[in-house]
């Protein structure tokens, strides 16, 4: 062994590998309807548990509390409250973001769940702030969570 210590792992003999992993994630019955409603009608929908009286957003087929099958759909509207937020200043590779990104968990009125999304049109944000979803135009929507461009403070 050499006396000098290796301080950069790339100086040691190594082999670079790459894991190929592409997937197609099936949305299922509930995801199908959620994204169809979002894309075609610009609506955010949840499913309601009749036993627990809670509304799941994003919707699911089952209640995680009582395990009932959920079939009742509810339009939860586009307005919600910031349950918590953060301001990210770095990218995945550790580089500084040109403009910080605000992420928040938005809870909809009357719903148990909510949505993790970005906050736009403002630099100041606080827990409890009322926000609303800003949707992309119908032509731009692709049945993705990014059909919502961001949430902004309600006017």
């Amino acid at each position: 062994m050499s006396i000098e210590k290796i301080t950069n792992p790339f100086d040691a003999r190594h082999w670079i590998g790459h894991m190929e992993a592409d997937y197609m994630y099936t949305l299922g019955v509930v995801g199908e309807r959620f994204f169809k409603e979002l894309k075609e009608n610009g609506r955010i929908m949840g499913t309601r548990c009749p036993n627990c009286s809670i509304v799941y957003v994003p919707p699911r087929m089952y209640c995680e509390r009582c395990f009932a099958k959920l079939e009742e759909w509810i339009d939860v509207g586009k307005k919600g409250t910031i349950h918590t937020f953060t301001i990210a200043t770095i990218e995945k590779d550790g580089k500084k973001l040109e403009k910080p990104v605000i992420y928040a968990l938005i809870k909809f009125e009357g719903a148990h769940g909510g949505m993790i999304h970005k906050i736009g049109e403002t630099d100041t944000v606080c827990i409890g702030m009322k926000v609303e979803a800003v949707l992309k135009s119908p032509e731009e929507r692709k049945a993705s969570i990014n059909d919502i461009a961001y949430f902004r403070p309600t006017k």
């Binding site: 040691a12 590998g17 301001i87 990210a88 990218e91």
Partner: protein
């Protein structure tokens, strides 16, 4: 039912990089130390080998096929738990309690420096449809959780930063620690706010390392070790994976895991009946949030206890005497075994300059990191009773 004891261990130490060893050599060298410590021959004396590893972190599919040889477990009875090392402890504990197995080897490691895109793997842990398309560095979830935790408990950013000061200082005394340091509160508070309110120095840095433990039944534990460390209880729990519906203030998964472990160990008042704890601190605020979930204090009180010095190494109830993950380095799926190791060292009286006098009962706790909500708790003692 048989009692269960840890009768030997090996640790490679934790380091930022390990370019001189492959993951297999790292495991081999560590296993040799553990077998030496317990005085066993892996080719003859081990009933079951358990490794704890997650495929993506290893760069393999079906990684469990790549572990027998370096542990002396070829054509022996081995399986892999796809999770934290303490989930492996729970499995080993159950196996021995059945009465069918007397000696079990438990292994967990991190070769974090081999992972070129670690954060991408973390991001791959997010829901592919509802969360992942938003992009960004997944630690934003820790920033969001810390923010809500501070909001609801009135814990301060200074108290969170103080966790870093304490743990990195303890790390200086731990020869196994990669990141022990004397940092000041100001240095932590002035480090970059990467995910408001979470600061750069409040995020533990990954490290390479390996830990192997030998567990034994009551029947043979005392013949293998003159200082067996008894596992008095183990509990585990997983919250919903849904970020949208999970609890954001309290670490409920840890509370439920603790209640399970305390019930087995007959612990009614953890602060009084346990002498110290090793608690998962991948992010500084998590130490405080987890202390509350572990019933070491009331909800919202952990920051105050820390500020008053009660959880310092010389305090009434030391927390993370090892330096925690902030001081030792974040050992990925080996995090839980890092916690266990310190508890074993303290209870054996082999913790050197950071030895807690007269320690009899210790607590080890782990969490599987962002974006999970899985916790494991174990209570251990050097007194069999």
């Amino acid at each position: 039912m048989s009692e269960v004891a840890i009768v030997g261990f090996g640790c490679s130490g934790f380091k930022p990089i390990t370019p001189e060893l492959s993951y297999k050599e790292l495991m081999f060298e560590t296993a040799v130390k553990a077998y030496e410590d317990a005085g066993i021959n892996p080719r003859k004396d081990v009933d079951v080998f358990i490794t704890c590893a997650e495929d993506y972190l290893e760069g393999f599919s079906i990684f469990d096929e790549f572990v027998p040889d370096q542990l002396g477990a070829v054509l022996r009875h081995l399986f892999t738990v796809s999770g934290d090392g303490m989930l492996g402890l729970a499995t080993a504990y159950m196996l021995i309690r059945t009465g069918h197995f007397d000696t079990i080897v438990l292994e967990a490691h991190s070769k974090a420096s081999d992972i070129l895109t670690y954060i991408d793997i973390v991001a791959f842990g997010l829901d592919p449809v509802y969360n992942r398309p938003l992009g960004g560095h997944p630690y934003y979830i820790a920033g969001m959780e810390m923010n809500r935790y501070l909001h609801d408990t009135c814990t301060t950013t200074e108290q969170c930063a103080q966790v870093v000061v304490k743990n990195k200082r303890n790390g200086i005394l731990n020869p196994y620690a990669a990141y022990g340091a004397n940092v000041t509160l100001d240095q932590v508070l002035c480090s970059e706010t990467c995910f408001y309110p979470l600061k750069k120095l409040e995020i533990s840095t990954p490290a390479d390392g390996c830990i192997v433990m030998v567990l034994a039944s009551e029947k043979i534990a005392e013949s293998l070790s003159d200082k067996p460390i008894w596992v008095k209880g183990v509990g585990w729990c997983t919250e919903t994976p849904s970020l949208e519906t999970r609890e954001w203030t309290k670490a409920v998964y840890t509370r439920m895991a603790a209640e399970m472990a305390y019930k087995q160990a007959k612990i009614n008042n953890p602060w009084m009946e346990i002498d110290f704890a090793e608690i998962h601190d991948q992010f500084a605020y998590k130490e405080l949030q987890h202390m509350e979930a572990l019933k070491l204090c009331d909800y919202g009180e952990a920051g105050k206890l820390l500020e008053d010095g009660l959880t310092n190494l010389n305090g009434e109830f030391p927390v993370n005497p090892s330096g925690g993950l902030l001081g030792m380095g974040y050992g990925l799926e080996a995090s839980g075994t890092q916690k266990l190791l310190e508890v074993v060292l303290q209870l054996r009286g082999e913790a050197g300059r950071r030895q807690i006098p007269n320690a009899e009962v210790g607590l080890a706790h782990t969490w599987r990191g962002i974006p999970t909500a899985t916790g494991v708790v174990a209570v251990l003692s050097n007194v069999k009773r």
